[in-house]
């Protein structure tokens, strides 16, 4: 059982939080491994991997109130969307382009998350467009005096887009209840951070009149800690923040990329040693929330959930071409 001086206890996290966070990290990892296998079997034409980012995503969304707060993620955010209410079935119906895909009914490529029910705003492929939507939603929440905080996520490549700077500027001017999360994995497809970002991402916050913090994106508790401070600040009406979570993606950008053309195997191996999942497992053991048997049982349970999700998604139908012209505009009654 957790002791009073444990890191998570200091952060206000309970044992059930830790177990749930761990579960979502595992679900994301196993969904990812499964989707790659399906891709290699020719059963999934396109895969956007999440592995490596699980701690940054689950840690950051854990600071929000699901059901009330609003999320504008980007395509890498599978773990985040699982923690926000997506199921493995939802992930795989999206992967296969099935009619039950909650994001788009099979219209968008996989990993273009969205669900009105879960307050996950629909996303596109052009980078950082969602960050401006987050700013508009945050403005609307403030205008309506609603108690809601908006979170938006992007990679360090996204911070080059004009949309990102516009949103930072607008959020700073209007003190919006908004938290910007940069999942900095150091590569925008093949372009290294050194050619993408002049200076440091988190330091850009100062230029937009808000605090900027950097943290270890491979540490779920560190990610949560920074997110919690920023979300509390936003909820208290003190305005927006920028959080930079440093991490690494273990696979290529997508299944259509080959990272061997721009990253050394040694570098990938070095980062694999900092894998957020074994790291969190060490913590869970150290505070005696889980023992080896507990870890094994959680892993097996997550794998079974993923397998069941794949099965259900396989059983789901493809959308009918007769529906192709629907929902361009609101249909006449």
């Amino acid at each position: 059982m957790g002791k009073s001086k444990d890191k998570h206890t200091e952060l206000g996290l309970k044992q059930e939080d830790l177990l749930a966070m761990y579960k979502f990290m595992l679900l994301a990892r196993f969904c990812d491994e499964r989707q790659w296998a399906l891709n290699r079997q020719g059963k999934a034409p396109f895969v956007v991997p999440v592995s490596g980012h699980e701690a940054a995503q689950v840690g950051s969304i854990w600071a929000f109130e699901r059901g009330k707060d609003v999320f504008c993620p980007y395509y890498r955010d599978m773990a985040l969307c699982l923690a926000a209410g997506f199921t493995p079935k939802d992930v795989f119906t999206g992967l296969f382009g099935k009619v039950d895909d909650p994001s788009s009914g099979g219209r968008q490529m996989p990993a273009h998350w969205g669900s009105r029910k879960l307050n996950i705003i629909t996303g596109s492929s052009p980078i950082a467009t969602q960050v401006l939507h987050a700013a508009g939603i945050a403005y609307s929440k403030k205008y309506k005096h609603e108690d809601a905080v908006v979170g938006t996520w992007f990679g360090e490549g996204g911070t080059s887009e004009g949309d990102w700077h516009g949103a930072m500027n607008f959020a700073g001017i209007h003190n919006l209840p908004l938290v910007f999360f940069c999942e900095n994995n150091q590569y925008a497809i093949s372009v290294h951070e050194s050619k993408q970002v002049a200076g440091r991402v988190y330091k850009r916050a100062e230029g937009y009149g808000m605090p900027g913090r950097e943290g270890d994106g491979n540490d779920v508790l560190d990610s949560y800690k920074l997110a919690k401070e920023a979300v509390d600040r936003a909820r208290a009406g003190e305005g927006a923040s920028l959080i930079e979570l440093r991490t690494y993606r273990f696979y290529s950008h997508t299944s259509d990329d080959d990272d061997r053309t721009y990253r050394s195997r040694e570098e990938v191996e070095e980062w694999r040693k900092k894998d957020p999942i074994p790291r969190f497992e060490s913590y869970l053991r150290s505070v005696e929330v889980l023992d080896d048997k507990g870890v094994e049982s959680m892993r097996e349970g997550a794998k079974e959930e993923v397998a069941e999700g794949v099965k259900q998604a396989n059983e789901s139908a493809f959308p009918d071409p007769s529906t192709g012209e629907l929902h361009v505009f609101q249909e006449a009654n």
Binding site: R116, S124, Q330
Partner: protein, 327 residues
Amino acid sequence: MAEKTLIQAIHDTLQEEMQRDDRIIVLGEDVGARGGVFRATMGFMEEFGEERVLDTPLDECLIAGVAIGMALDGLRPVAEMQFADFIWPAFNQIVSEAARIRYRSNNDFSVPMVIRTPWGGGVHGALYHSQSIEAFFAHVPGIKVVAPSTPYDAKGMLIQALEDEDPVLFLEHKKTYRLIKGEVPDERYTVEFGKAEVRREGDDLTVVAYGLMHHFCVEAAEKLSGEGIEVEVIDLRSIYPLDIDTVLTSIGKTGKAMIVYEDNKFLGVGAEIAAQIAEKALFDLDGPIVRLAGPHVPAMPYAPPLEGWFMPNPDKIEQEMRKLATF
């Protein structure tokens, strides 16, 4: 009932709608303290406050993107692009986001927003204050593109746009702002999108136009009437949805069709209308489908003779009408 200029009609309508519905928020460059460079929002900041009448940073992409976010959260944003020529930094947000959100989310999300912008030439605005932008946006499914040309329609179509559940690009020809006056009823009414209006009846020739060009066409048609040529002039009003039926019905009567627009001729709105006429009414035609439009140069030049060379005007229109009527 009062006589108003087109800009007055827009100002008053937007003001009245904001009084009725606090979901409506106005945002753009200089819309607050200045009341808009064309004064469309004059006095709004004083009446509705800075929270509802936002002077935004000078960032058109931001204006569109933030408005999308507001609409996704249930507000009814009215985004002003100060000149249509400045809309291009917002193109991605409008085309890739606003227009696609309903479709891409399988009807889970929608973007009820209005983008108002002054467009068109004839005001010595040169390359960057004269552009016609309608063809770029009308090409994109998921956004409606309308261009009222009278104060009456400006009111009814603006209310229609505010009630629409999808994004509307609301084009206001800047030359018509103070040039065109007309009666505007005091009561609230809407003008349905996708309904063209026959402004002048005639049996010899059908001419289709919108915005300022529609007024020039009526002027030219009146002159030709003295020669015994009666031109039917159709004001399109709405570019998408397009009311091709009204055009085809008229051609069934006249047998001749001409489209006048001040955009570049190539792949402009007239190209689509001509194609639909060819598809649907070829055997009703007694002459070629004629397009009178801007030349294939990047934009309207500044010097008066060059601007005059670029723009269709009542004289040029009258000549083309006469040629086609006597074909």
